[in-house]
Amino acid sequence: MTVAGDKTDFSSMVPTETALVIGGGVAGLQAALDIADQNFQVVLVEKTPSIGGVMAMLDKTFPTLDCSACILTPRLSEVSRHPNINLLTYSEVLGVSGEAGDFRVKILRKARKVIEDKCSGCGECVPHCPVQVKNEFDQNLGYRKAIYIAFPQNTPLVYTIDTDNCIKCELCVKSCDREAIDLSMEDEEIEIGVGAIVIATGYELFDVSQYRRLGYGRYRNVINALEYERLINASGPTGGNLLRLSDGKIPRSIGFIQCVGARDVQKGVPYCSRVCCMYGVKNAIMAKELQHENVKNVTVYYADIRAYGKGFEEFYQMAKRRFGIRFIRGRVAEVVEDPKTKDVIVYAENTQTSEFLKEKHEMVVLCPGILPPKGLKQLADELGLGLGTDGFISVEHPASNPVDTRIPGVYVAGCAESPKDIPDSVAAGSAAAMRASITLSRGGAS
């Protein structure tokens, strides 16, 4: 059993045979698997209650429209069952000392108040919990109880109690046949010795409410792209039905606004977020695919359509030709709400025709750029890593050593290094695994 339950003996792990992977998103999972498949031990630390990262929240992925859960869940399974991977979810790295071949890592194992070895994930406790709070996995659009799993394929399939909202009524404790709930559980600090570290801490979305003129937070029918993903996802808050938040109706006209919090020097995000053009096109296609005849008008307002990867340009052309998505080159000036219908009006200039547009949509989706996750700076400082001006982890020689940080034995994969899509994150995860395995096999030397 590799869910690192309470019985895992970390002190018996040999540092030069063990790697630490920080982050359980798709890059971290790939790195963990590739290192573990080489017969090394891996400790995978993930701060949320489940591995899967942002990819677990998505509905479909570009450019194939593969269902994200379908391609991810077997990976989650593989990681959780791998004899060489020790999964520490709901845990965080507090500090690191030492050097390649012998890093000493302090890890905080937050108290889930549920005993991992005993919980079977049956969910019997849930109906008994009287506390209902917003579900952060559903981007606060749906609800969960204080005792919860993030999503149906939560890995490990073990419940967690949100102590900030738990009222300690103990109704769940009484309902659990396996006596798996222990409200007296405390946070625990452990120390492990590892020979190499892979940082795969992923990303966060830009807070689009910073663009007041685009109406997010003020108008119910202006949402962000991740909220849209949850709305169209079959395991999301509406069971996969794309509905307006103001009145539950199917929006017949949808506007997607690109580059919100990207390529904007004034908002401190001068860099390109690399994935938003493609996810915007994908979301636009999904609106048509899901709703068929109901959605008449899907418009994407963009600066450049960066369809650069394998199959991307073809996907973009398909959006135009087969799905009839309208693409308007122009930054949106303002979004205004019609107070009666709650429809939203987009003011933009079509820079290709010099026309000023006033387009009425029943829903507007803002596509945010991506940022380094909170806590990355502290982690970088702790490890002695450099950060670029973009806030992501620096790599010394991007051309020849694209995953090597300036600290020997510490590697970076996925969006922790800079924005990238799933295939590039997966390739980077494997690359970091390769480099880490060299460090381990050489006892710490590079």
Partner: protein, 143 residues
């Protein structure tokens, strides 16, 4: 007489590498086509024994497609050359069996040709609607 109401029953023998991939790609690309074809997945189109095609018609299939990689691209290097030779022999046999030659079709499709897969089925379904169900066994018991 065009029988637009019936959905022809078509058996499609595919190879695991190219033509099965083209069928997958048609679905991945969400290209819509009639649900007339049922795929029998084999490793190579060279596995298709003429007996299987004949049995299909005997059982009442309205059409049979033999599909595989393009000549020269066979995953097993020469398998599909055999397929081609057998197909030509089968075409002659169609006459002897009293079946319309358009009921048997050969399709070379690479794994990146989803559009071609869908088009071949749309085309064949249309044609089978024109020529009617298999006179042997009244189009079989399949719906």
């Amino acid at each position: 007489m065009k029988q637009t109401e019936y959905t022809p029953n078509i058996v499609a023998f595919t190879c695991n590498w190219c033509s099965y991939g083209s069928a997958d790609l048609a679905g991945i690309s969400r290209i819509q086509y009639p649900p007339s074809v049922k795929v029998v997945r084999l490793m190579c189109s060279g596995r298709v024994d003429p007996l299987m095609v004949i049995e299909s018609f005997k059982n009442g299939a309205d059409g049979v497609m033999v599909t595989g990689c393009h000549l020269g691209d066979c995953h097993y290097s020469t398998g599909n050359y055999r397929t081609k030779a057998r197909f030509e022999a089968l075409q002659k046999a169609m006459k002897l069996m009293g079946l319309h030659p358009d009921r048997l079709r050969l399709l070379w499709a690479s794994a990146s040709e989803g559009q071609q897969w869908a088009e071949a089925i749309i085309d064949m379904t249309e044609r089978l609607r024109e020529i009617g169900p298999n006179p042997i066994n009244n189009g079989g018991g399949g719906k």
